[in-house]
Amino acid sequence: MSYIDWAVLFTTILAIVGYGVYKSRGAQSMQAYLLGNQSLPWYTVCLSVMATQASAITFLSAPGLAYTSGMSFVQFYFGLPLAMIVLCITFVPIFHRLKVYTAYEYLEQRFDLNTRALTAFLFLIQRGLSTGITIYAPSIILSTILNIDTTYTTLFIGGLVVFYTVYGGTKAVSYTQLLQMSIIFCGLFAAGIMVVHLLPGDVGFTKAISIAGKMGRTNVIDFSFDWNNPYTVWSGLIGGFFLQLSYFGTDQSQVGRYLTGSSVSQSRLGLLMNGLVKIPMQFLILLIGVLVFTFYQYNKAPIFFNSYELNKLEASPYKAELNKIKTDYNSAFESKQQEVIKLDKALEAKDETLINQQRTAVKKADEETKTIRKSLTELMLKNDAKASTNDNNYVFLSFVTQYLPKGLIGLLIAIIFLASMGSTASALNSLASTSVVDIYKRLINKEATDQQYVKASRWATLIWGAVCIVMALFTSKIGNLLEAVNILGSFIYGTILGVFIVAFYIKKVRGKAVFYAAILTEAIVCIIGFNEWVAYLWLNVIGCLLVVFFALIIQRLLKKKTVELEVNH
C-alpha cells in the first residue's frame, strides 16, 4: 500500500471514531448510555441495524462467493422483509410500551425470572463467542493483505471499538455506524465503477454480465427444494424468515439498535427501510464479484488468492509439483481466454447457435481451471493438513490491492475495518446491557444508583471487549473453531424465538412450561445440529416450532396435574 492509501485508511477510521465520540459525549444515565435517550431518527436506526448485521466478512465473502459459485447467496435474505413486518407489528410496539432495556427483560414480565435468565444466558454465550470471531476473521485477511501480524490488526480493531463503545455507549455505536455505512456504500459504488472501467474497451457492463452468465455466475434464483441447500428461494423465504426474525427480534445486539428510535414509528421505519434496502444491496455486492469474475477472464487471476498459503507451499518440499500445476494453470487460462474472446464475438454478432456452442466451450474451460485449482488445494493439504484451502474471502481484496488506483485501495481497506468495527461495537454494547440489566441489576445489586449502573455498564463493555479480543487472538491457534461458532447462532436462535413467539401469541402458556420446553428443545436442536441432519438454516425453524409444541404439551400436563391435586385436596 502507498502512503496515500495509509493516509486515507487512518483518516477515515479516526474521523469516524472522532465523530462518534463527539456526538455521544455526556451520556451519564442508563437511559442515555444504553438506549441513547431513545432519540434517534429512522435513518440512523436503519443504517445502525444494517451495520450491525453486515460484518467485514459480508463485504469480503460475498464477492468471493459470486466469483466462485455465482449469485445464489442473495436468496438467503428473502425472509428478511417478511421478518421486518412481523417485528414491526408485534415486537417493536411491545418493547417500546414496556420501556425495556433488553429483550429478555420482557420475558420476566410475561413469564418468570428463570425464563429471562435462561434466554439472557444463551444470548451471552452465543454473542460472546461469535464476537471474538467477528474481530478475528477480518483481522487474519487484513494481516495477509497488509503483511502485518494478526495480533496487531486484532488489537487495532478491538482496541478502537472498545474505546468508543466504553466512552459513548449506544449513541457512539449508532453515530459511528451511520457514517460507516455511508462510506461503505460510496466505496463499494466506486469499486463497482472501477471494475467496469478496467474491463477491455469493447466489454461494457451488460456484456460483462452476459459473459459471466454464460459461465454460470448469474444464477440468482433457484426454485428447487432441497433440505441441504441453504441457497434456494424456499430455504431463504422459510428458513431465512425464522433466522432473521429470531436475530432481529431476540438478539440484543439488534434489539438494542432499534430501541434507540425516538418513537415506535421511527424504530418501525428504520426496520422497514432495512427490509427494502438489504436485498438489493446484497445483490449489488454479489454483482461486483461477478464483474471481478469477468475481469479475470481477460486478465490472469492468481492461481490461489490467499498468498500466505501459496508462499507456504512455495517454501515447502512440494515446490516442483507446484510449478507443474502453475504451468498447467497458465496454459488452461490461455485456452479459456481464447474461448471467452470467441464467446464475446458471438455475443457481439448475436449468433445464438455460436453463443450456445461457446457457452459449452467456456464452461468446459472453466471446469478445467477448477480441476487444476483442486489439485493445488490437495497439494496444500498434503503439505499442511491445517492449510486454509478456501480463498473466497481473498478474491475481492486481492483484486482491490492489485488493480485499483491509490487512495481507493486505502478507502476499501478502511471499509473492511469499519464493517468489522460496526458489528463488534453493537455486540459489545448488547453484551454489556444484558450483563448489567438482566444479571447485575436484577440478581446481584438491585439497589444501586443510576450512575453506578452506568459505571457498571462501562466496566462490562470493557471486560467483554477484553474477553473478545483475547478470544480473537486465541482463535488463530484453533482454525476449525471458526465455522463451528458461525453456525452456533442457528443452534440457539430458534429456541429463543420460540420462547418469544409463545410469549406474544399463546397467552395460556405460563413460565414453567416454556422454561422446560426451551431446555428440551435446545437439547434436540443440538443433537440435530451436531449430526448435520439438515442445513443449519432449518435449525431455526425446528427450534422455534419445537418450543411452541412442547410448551403447549407441558402446559396441558401441568394444568392436569394441578386439577388432580385440587380434586385430591
Binding site: 442473495v74 407489528i89 410500551r97 440468482v220 418513537s263 418501525r268 427490509g275 436485498i279
Partner: protein, 43 residues
C-alpha cells in the same frame, strides 16, 4: 396511548402502516420476479 401516538405518526408515501407492510411484501415479490428474469436472461 401508544397506539394513538403511532396512528398519528404515519409512514411516508402511504396512509397507514398496513399499506406500508403490503408495499414491502410487494417489493419482495417484485425483486424475486426481477431476479428470475435476470437469471433467465443472462444464463
Amino acid at each position: 396511548m401508544e397506539d394513538k401516538q403511532t396512528e398519528k405518526d404515519l409512514p411516508p408515501f402511504v396512509n397507514t402502516w398496513k399499506q406500508f407492510y403490503f408495499l414491502l411484501g410487494f417489493w419482495l415479490v417484485l425483486l424475486i420476479a426481477l431476479f428470475y428474469a435476470f437469471t433467465k436472461y443472462f444464463e
